[in-house]
Symmetry: C2
Subunit: 317 residues, 2 copies
């Protein structure tokens, strides 16, 4: 099968061995997949991953229980044991024995075929297109912000970073009617925010106001964390969404002095994301910058790394 | 008056001008003062402070309202406006207009005399000695941990750092009957923990278990934060107590991946600290390593920087 493989370097491989589903797993034919900042970090050595990349996808079940075969699905990425203490205490996303699709110990979806635990599948409603469904994984991660902090119409919130994830988080927050601003760098992305009715501010025009109740850090850079600390009010909350491959010296004293809470936030509820797309509460198509056939994966990765682009997709069609 | 002054360099000054209390302020004669890690950081440029150092003290009111004069007192360090939005929303410790005794915009207590807002004074009960009362400020900061996280007998907690602050935090946590360990480096300090009935572990013997509900970072070093991230469980909490003058590259990815909450924690409730000393719930005298007359302040600062010592005091008597 065709596959995009990272093994010290990134390569497109036209004849990669097809996977065999283990017990409890389904074989899924990938239709469309999304490239995310984590994929870019993985190609710079994050997590020491090697194998088929990719964890954002929509596909069709080829092999599995009869009530699933032929169905269009999206897949949760954490494959968990279901038996450890963390799994049994409701924290299965943190299962110590987990593998993570295209990130840790398990091949990903930048390929024609991928194997996935049947329990990880979610049916995609007919009203949700492939181009929308491919956003379910990152949109679920955006919804996780609401699961980890209380945000309502009285909450002032800033999103730092107007990239792929920042724009999804901003849209999710906007559904709460909160006082919302997005801080970014790229004029086109800031314009997209404004089109969606969200106030956008260029980072160079920012004043260190320390008056926001909640700041969501989506920039993936240490500079973004610094901006977040300048925006959040004393006793406020910074939600840290993006892992960051580049370490840099970061002065944590403001966290102590201003008694800030920094809350790490990773994967989120697929159900909420699917539901939001089905009832058109979140619009994602305008975020698609380019779609490449899987054969052009190397070009697609370059495009995904270009800050002028928002979402870059890989098509297996 | 005698005073310990930092102005690009640390000096003992035998004839420093005595302060004049402004309206609402009292003049306090300092009896005994404690040197804290923040003082050491200030002498390395933290906060760009210049003036009389010192914020941990017990003294006698010389000038002020008649019901206060002659009384033995401890003093809250944040001098606030009482009128800004933060003051009026119960966050006066974060007042934007605040000055902080010996830390920001206000002379401190390493001197014969210091001026303090009358509202910042707390009466010291007769049963609490000077040697105990001088610990009220850092002990209050230790109690702040309980104000910012829920800890009971079912909570597993580790304290990273067995220094001045770590030993106070450990004692405060022990009163909750939680499953408690202290991680440190200095054998004498670890022995003191064990004497107080708290399990102590040398940092080199530590296993990265990621199973603690709460970790309190009191080491004041970026290495301590790294240890904290290795100890805390997924979705657990790191309470960050110590500001750290030395920035170092710190990989924040574990915070996101394990969805950890990092909660900054600064000053705390003086009432709780005084009460705990009065009813002998917390023992502090065994933490005093050395007491220097104020004239020997430079030696005292050297002793405070020596990791073999715990608490170093300055006596004005």
């Amino acid at each position: 099968m065709r596959a995009v493989v990272f093994n010290r370097e990134l390569s497109y491989q036209p004849n990669y061995p097809a996977p065999n589903p283990a017990e409890g797993e389904c074989l899924v034919q990938v239709r469309l997949a999304g490239i995310c900042a984590t994929d870019l970090h993985l190609t710079r050595g994050y997590m020491d991953f090697s194998g088929v990349l990719g964890h954002e996808m929509v596909g069709t079940v080829l092999e599995g229980p009869t009530d699933w075969t032929g169905k269009r699905v999206v897949c949760e990425i954490n494959h968990v044991c279901g038996q450890c203490k963390l799994c049994q205490s409701g924290l299965s996303n943190h299962c110590k024995n987990r593998t993570v699709m295209g990130i840790a110990g398990r091949d990903g979806c930048f390929a024609d075929l991928v194997t996935v635990n049947q329990k990880n599948l979610h049916l995609v409603p007919d009203s949700v297109s492939d181009e929308e469904a491919v956003f379910v994984e990152p949109l679920a991660a955006a919804y996780q912000v609401l699961a980890q902090s209380f945000i309502d119409s009285r909450t002032s919130v800033s999103v730092v970073g107007a990239g792929r994830l920042g724009l999804l988080v901003a849209q999710v927050l906007a559904t709460k009617g909160c006082n919302l601003t997005v801080v970014g760098r790229n004029p086109n992305k800031l314009l997209l925010c404004e089109k969606k009715g969200v106030q956008a501010i260029h980072v160079d025009e920012l004043v260190a106001r320390q008056d926001r109740d909640v700041v969501v850090e989506c920039s993936g850079s240490p500079a973004g964390m610094k901006v977040a600390m300048e925006l959040v009010r004393p006793r406020g909350t910074i939600i840290l969404k993006s892992t960051c491959a580049d370490n840099e010296a970061l002065d944590l004293a403001p966290i102590v002095v201003n008694e800030i809470s920094v809350v790490g936030s990773r994967c989120g509820p697929f159900g909420e994301a699917l539901n939001a797309l089905a009832r058109e509460a979140i619009e994602v198509r305008s975020m698609i910058s380019k779609t490449f056939p899987i054969e052009d994966a190397i070009k697609a990765f370059d495009a995904a790394a270009d800050p002028r682009n928002i979402k870059t997709l890989l098509s297996m069609g």
